[in-house]
Symmetry: C2
Subunit: 220 residues, 2 copies
């Protein structure tokens, strides 16, 4: 019985790692679309979001089946609930990558990101992709050093996000309100994407140590 | 056994209704703070968010205890998982109300909302509060008519959100980029708050009918 439980949980865990790879790929593609005004990459990102949604449904069903058939005890239940929270976090990361792609579509053939902020958004995209991949590694390995790394990565994302606002809020910045609005929302999407990666890692941290790590921002 | 399960589930359900009242109150207070530059109301909203977080922890613990002690079967498990998703949605609504309050604090003693958009934000605040309250009624009553109403309320929120952007994106709009950024983010907070109310209702809809209602936007 217990062995069956752990085998099924392992199987679910592998699906979760696969889902983090899906959204890492999505944010990579969305960022490419954003920086090259590539409408096909934008469409590809939006289509990939539907796949992530389906993955969530499949994994959630497996989780329900696991609980229904294996009657987990309290500690095991925490694993199961963490898995449910993880699918929800990853699903949301897919939405946010898709939101980036939709801004690309809305502004096409213009670029939503002005030249002076291309480097910043490239860095935010790279950070977001790395964080999604690392969240997958945390799920697989339960390596708490990686949880720490993700917190540091998130600090870097916040720094990039703030540096973007410094440009937009400069009194001499010559762009229209539309650009400011696009950038504010894009910045928010990347920042939230990163937050969800941190949340996934924190759930694992809690499972391993029993301690909740209380940092101010990420919540879902 | 089954009676104990349903009594405990009923108890959890009442806590969930209480949490929706908490966040309805928060978005009301945050909107008052926003429209009157009232720093005390802003602080009150941020403090209330910590209470919502605690409520979530308490209710989540009860849910885990329920599953651990009552070994629910598949249909019952769906109820339990819906309750978990609901605490997560309400907790996020608290975050978003708190985000509104933090914009008030950041711009104090200036107003983040210019005169020409006060009416729109007052309407968004009223809609958000109503939707949180209605989500609580859906949890209590499982009245599917209210689920439909919430979808309509969300359409109204989207309309308000779009009308706000029409003002900001008008070429003759005379405000600085900072104001555009504040408004884009504030608009997003209200819109997401409303989305989470809809999501709560959709979970109930699914529990009652077994059908997922597929509308484009809200996901969490």
């Amino acid at each position: 019985m217990r062995q069956a439980f752990h085998e099924q949980l392992q199987d679910i865990s592998e699906h979760l790692v696969g889902m983090t790879a899906q959204v890492a790929d999505m944010i990579h593609t969305a960022t490419d679309a954003l920086l090259s005004q590539d409408i096909h990459l934008a469409d590809q990102t939006v289509a990939a979001d539907a796949e992530v949604d389906r993955s969530q449904e499949v994994v959630d069903e497996r989780i329900i089946e696991l609980v229904a058939t294996q009657a987990p005890v309290a500690g095991e239940l925490r694993e199961v609930i963490s898995a449910l929270r993880t699918t929800a976090n990853i699903e949301r990361m897919g939405d946010l990558a898709s939101h980036v792609a939709k801004v690309v579509r809305m502004r096409y053939p213009e670029s939503a990101v002005p030249d002076e902020l291309r480097t910043t958004f490239a860095a935010m995209g790279a950070a977001a992709e790395k964080m999604a991949t690392k969240a997958g590694e945390v799920i697989r390995s339960r390596d708490l050093d990686l949880v720490e790394e993700l917190q540091a990565d998130d600090d870097e994302m916040d720094r990039l996000h703030r540096s973007m606002f410094l440009v937009v809020l400069d009194h001499d910045w010559p762009r229209p309100a539309e650009t400011a609005v696009d950038l504010a929302l894009l910045g928010r999407y990347y920042e939230r994407f990163a937050d969800h990666a941190v949340l996934i890692a924190r759930h694992i941290h809690y499972l391993v140590t029993g301690e909740t790590e209380s940092h101010a921002e990420p919540q879902a």
